[in-house]
Subunit: 436 residues, 2 copies
Amino acid sequence: MTEKKARPIGVAVLGMGNVGTEVVRIITDNANDLEARVGAPVELRGVAVRDLSKPRGIDPSLLTDKPEELITRDDVDIVVELIGGIDPPRMLIREALQGGKSVVTANKALLADYTGELATAAAGAKVDLYFEAAVAGAIPVIRPLMQSLAGDTVTRVAGIVNGTTNFILSAMDADGSDYAETLAEAGRLGYAEADPTADVEGYDAAAKAAILASIAFHSRVTALNVYREGISKITTHDLESAKALDCTVKLLSICERIVDEDGTQRISARVYPALVPLAHPLASVNGAFNAVVVEAENAGRLMFYGQGAGGAPTASAVLGDMVMAARNKVHGGRGPLESTYASLPIAPMGDVRTRYYVSMRVADRPGVLSTVAGEFSSRNISISTVRQEGAGDDARLVVVTHRAPDSALSETVAALEKLESVLSVSSVLRLEGTND
Amino acid sequence: MTEKKARPIGVAVLGMGNVGTEVVRIITDNANDLEARVGAPVELRGVAVRDLSKPRGIDPSLLTDKPEELITRDDVDIVVELIGGIDPPRMLIREALQGGKSVVTANKALLADYTGELATAAAGAKVDLYFEAAVAGAIPVIRPLMQSLAGDTVTRVAGIVNGTTNFILSAMDADGSDYAETLAEAGRLGYAEADPTADVEGYDAAAKAAILASIAFHSRVTALNVYREGISKITTHDLESAKALDCTVKLLSICERIVDEDGTQRISARVYPALVPLAHPLASVNGAFNAVVVEAENAGRLMFYGQGAGGAPTASAVLGDMVMAARNKVHGGRGPLESTYASLPIAPMGDVRTRYYVSMRVADRPGVLSTVAGEFSSRNISISTVRQEGAGDDARLVVVTHRAPDSALSETVAALEKLESVLSVSSVLRLEGTND
């Protein structure tokens, strides 16, 4: 098929960090391929950077420290936002969209909270707002959910979408090192930032869960709607206990369609470290890799796996979006924007049915198991397995429950902590990826 | 985002087998969701079937045995072709496209050979031709390759895309049963058709390889360009030998960008049963599941996994395409069609560099290994491992080579067969999924 040559498509790139540098390199190196795929030449109009004095290895006349001017240029059709953070990207993207530019962004923090206002601007100007790179880097997840599964009913999305925490948990699992030293090692290797809070406390994974839940369930879910626990309290003992249960520990982003007995539907979006059975496909996703498992009524279970971060992989996703936005500029039409028609409410975490793993130090004397078990059964929680470990001062009880409302489970843990025979509840984790 | 309500989108379904039945059911059951996602009601105009007398569980006034009339109706916007085979679908799809209808099809045999003519018709009429369901059922593969990776350079696609053969090989591997009895069992369970030739001889996998290679490398690749071997000669001994080498046997569809020393690029597309190391992600894809591994210069290695066949999973992919085609009818624009600008030539199988596993019955006497090894080294082929098994009449030699041109490897096998000390070459398989 030969497409008629059209006027060039002008691209402005905002931000020249790891990803921006790769995006600029590929636009320059692969100009012929991009032109053939778009149906028109793709030309770089400018790159906005903070520090103009830093050498960038590109024609200096392309650099500017005034992004607000770059995005309003008449010869710019597409703005690629790779600055990160809420401000100034929020204002820049909104202005670009209102000015008729299509926008490609990898900004998960912004999208988690402001997709609504940005999508409204894009719809008003009939332009595209694409953000495949915002979740799971190079792995196509947004487009499959929005487009390939557009005729299906998604029931669940569960993913490992933060490379830093997966690197730390994989390393702790592999060599038995503790959290603090593994985090330090991750920092030395460039897998953790100087301030790792956004990663290790689950904020990054929660932003991605909000984006995934919004798309999967055609509703508006923001980061504040996502229940969140990080990995900073995970101990070597947790990983050992997981192994004894044929599990490993993963930080999961879970988006679930909850159907109550009366048919009412609600959304649960949550992030926490969970025990995952070794036989589950997410258990073998190690290091900085990402994977997302999508379950839909007709498609069944799908899994998407690949590199979730890094300059080149993220740039691949950005450029896929850029080519599609450029094609639409050439041929007309536009991709789907957000779809919130279902407007499902968010279920509080207490209503979500999960399974608990509870590890506690107990007094080594008869009757303790019976007392502990009584706290579960009095709240209608059925126990799946109990393991007694050690003896004397080191006696421990590890309980794994069947599925029950999270509120009942957390009440039980609170009650256990008050028992005289329970010296301390050392760890509480949820168990995911099982059918019972 | 509320979309303004537009006139209804009329859909005609051709064929009401497993997939067609599910498509009709979902269009009917999920009318509200589809309307919200498309921005207009989706209405079923008719279903073409061969036998009008068969009860179908839908309003009989929707049924017709004249597909050629259904596809020309003014109130039909989208034609979903699920008849299968080359004729009449080829003519029906072409006429539908020329008449301005967008077409969604799962017809891999047709697409493998006639995408060019169908895409030309679609481009001429400015309508969509979508076929996500043609490869790997519910698993999004076509759209990720065409759109998400549109800014990247794909280097390799390797997949398990035929459920029947994967079911047979998985069962042979799991319980040591032989090919004939496993095929019979697959037939009883509904995993193999009465005439299993298209599946077991690799024709189905080759058609899918042609489609994947065309998209991945922006070139035209037809089924005839795909080198093809089936699984009907695989023995229990092959699977045992594979195990001894920490491998399993999988029927792979491989599409590769070959870059010669002078920079010339060519395409290899091939289907054959191959040894795959157990540590490779494709090794653990069992039963009727499909998986596709895509490698691209910037994205790195991606894997897509899920149900590759079956009524509901395939219908999910069909409906995703239908929603996107319907959206384009409502909002304007259209998806990318085939892209063949790169026009890369096909490399003959003899030029492809592969690794061989050769199992032979040999005379049990000194000097045999040296004679056999001489045949490899005289053709410049380096041997990776040699295993001697059994003794006396049952003496065997199993050789695994490093990578070499396929022509040199097959010449070596021909020469081995003529050696007096080699009683018979019992099995030759390629080894894939290793880095050396």
